[in-house]
């Protein structure tokens, strides 16, 4: 039980840090939560369920994550907005020497300049954690979402 609890705490801890980085606009720290050879993907559930690959966003290495951050800081034009993530139903699916696999529900509320907050995206994370010299990092994080109609645009990672 203690070991299971520790695994759970490690996953919870990294997810909390992940949310803190995104929701409090420290996106420059976001890529370092992943290993170099990672997968980060945001994909509609309708595609996932049909076994189809079309993503909203797909980065298959850490360099692409850094490119995303630089692009949305400097190139992409979108109105100021803030996410708040709410997670529930964390389940540790498997634990091996190579990886901890987990799944969790997420809800992202988006608030705009006018002061409106709305449900921006609901879905689930399918993820993997590996231990590195710097601590636990995501080897993969897939965001599979049901709110398939993306409102206006998606700039900030989920």
């Amino acid at each position: 039980m203690t070991k299971d609890l520790m695994v759970r705490l490690e996953v919870q801890c990294l997810l909390d840090l992940y949310i803190d980085v995104i929701d409090n606009d420290r996106l420059e720290e976001w890529p370092a939560l992943f290993v170099e050879d990672c997968l980060y993907e945001i994909i509609p559930r309708e595609n996932e369920d049909m076994g189809l690959p079309a993503p909203v966003m797909r980065c298959d290495n850490q360099r692409m994550l850094r490119d995303r951050v630089i692009s949305l800081r400097n190139a992409n034009i979108f109105s100021p907005q803030t996410y708040r993530h709410f997670l529930s139903g964390l389940v540790i699916q498997s634990v091996s020497d190579a990886e901890i696999a987990f799944t969790s529900n997420y809800l992202v509320i988006n608030s705009n300049q006018a002061g409106q907050s709305f449900v921006y995206q609901t879905g689930r994370y399918l993820g993997g954690l590996v231990v590195t010299a710097e601590g636990w990092r995501f080897s993969r994080l897939r965001c599979i979402f049901e709110t398939s109609r993306v409102q206006t645009l998606l700039a900030i990672p989920i």
Binding site: A54, I70, N76, T152
Partner: protein, 430 residues
Amino acid sequence: MGDISTDLEKRFSVAEFPKGDGSRVPYKVFSSQDVYDREQERIYRGPTWNFLGLEDEVKSPGDFKSTFIGDTPVVLTRTEDGELAAWVNRCAHRGAMVCRLARGNAKSHDCVYHQWSYDTRGNLLGVPFRRGQKGAEGMPKDFKPANHGLRQLRVQNYRGLVFATFSDSVVDFLDYVGPDMAGFIDRIFHKPVEYLGCTRQFSNSNWKLYLENVKDPYHASLLHLFHTTFNIFRVGMKAHCQTDNIDGLHSIILAIKEQENTGDAYKEQNIRSYDEGFSLEDDSILALVPEFDVLATNHIQPIFPQLVIQQIHNTLVARQLLPKGPNNFELIFHFFGYADDTVELRALRVKQANLVGPAGYISMEDTEATELVQQGTVRDGNAHSVIEMARDAPEQKNTLITENLIRSFWKGYQKLMDLPTTKTDGEHGA
């Protein structure tokens, strides 16, 4: 005579264009319910071919897909004998939506309300208790199921793109788009395609603002700063922008690479990075594997009213544009590849999905811009836009600094909608 003047007044009350050349667009066309209702009647239920989906989405007999023509719910099906059919999703009995699922496979479609049952073409198969039961009379003797099918639509499949129309009189799809546009469709749809899934984007702005956007090469380098930010120089590029030469409603923008990179098929675009500024750490996102006769990085081809064919580098999309009331539209990006793609090329197409769609590096700003126009114009319906770039060079096709395609579109729209032009002497004219 009285009828004519009443009709004229009605048309003027819907919207009038300050000029007849497409260079002045009254803002009310972006938010008026009257205009919107007239569009549903004259455009979506009028003489147009409306994109429903890729043939590959309904591969097998019985496959179906729910979608829309304008805001009318319709269903696209593959019949038992392998043909394509489409019908309005509204039960002939009491009007309930018959098909309640986005996609699936079914030999027949039953309305849940009273279980009226239809075949894949929309013909009425059966009505429960038609002949009564235990003394109940049932349907009248003169009730003929053949007269009570679902509203069936004309369907045409052009190279794997499926279109439908309410119109019995509109010319065949090929004549509808004309030879020039057909040639550009053929450029992309030159061999069988495979559907790779879709992404959806919902915008709080009018559908025509998006059509303006895909006919507007002028904004490309000004709104979308991705290439500039990463010091990506597009050397040796030339443009080709033209309309269908019919009513100007369909068009093409091509950004063409003049010098073909022979040798390594995976050779990157010419990318130069300087000490100052940013460079992409993973520039494979801008790879361009030559696979078309004309080597273009961008192919943007709106087929009026609800399709935009897109090739950006090696990512291929059929964008379906659906109006959702005067103030909203939905874009559905149908990604596809070719049936004979190598594993590597298929992976590149999926990777380059990052360029387009709701999170697209070079597209996410489009809905931001259309929403800014919606917000800026909603209270000023009688004010108008000013669309003048390259107006003195209507034949010039080789530049991106032009608004010719937009003006052509508005002229065609005004004609199809039968909306009047304001006479310069201040009097109303037809």
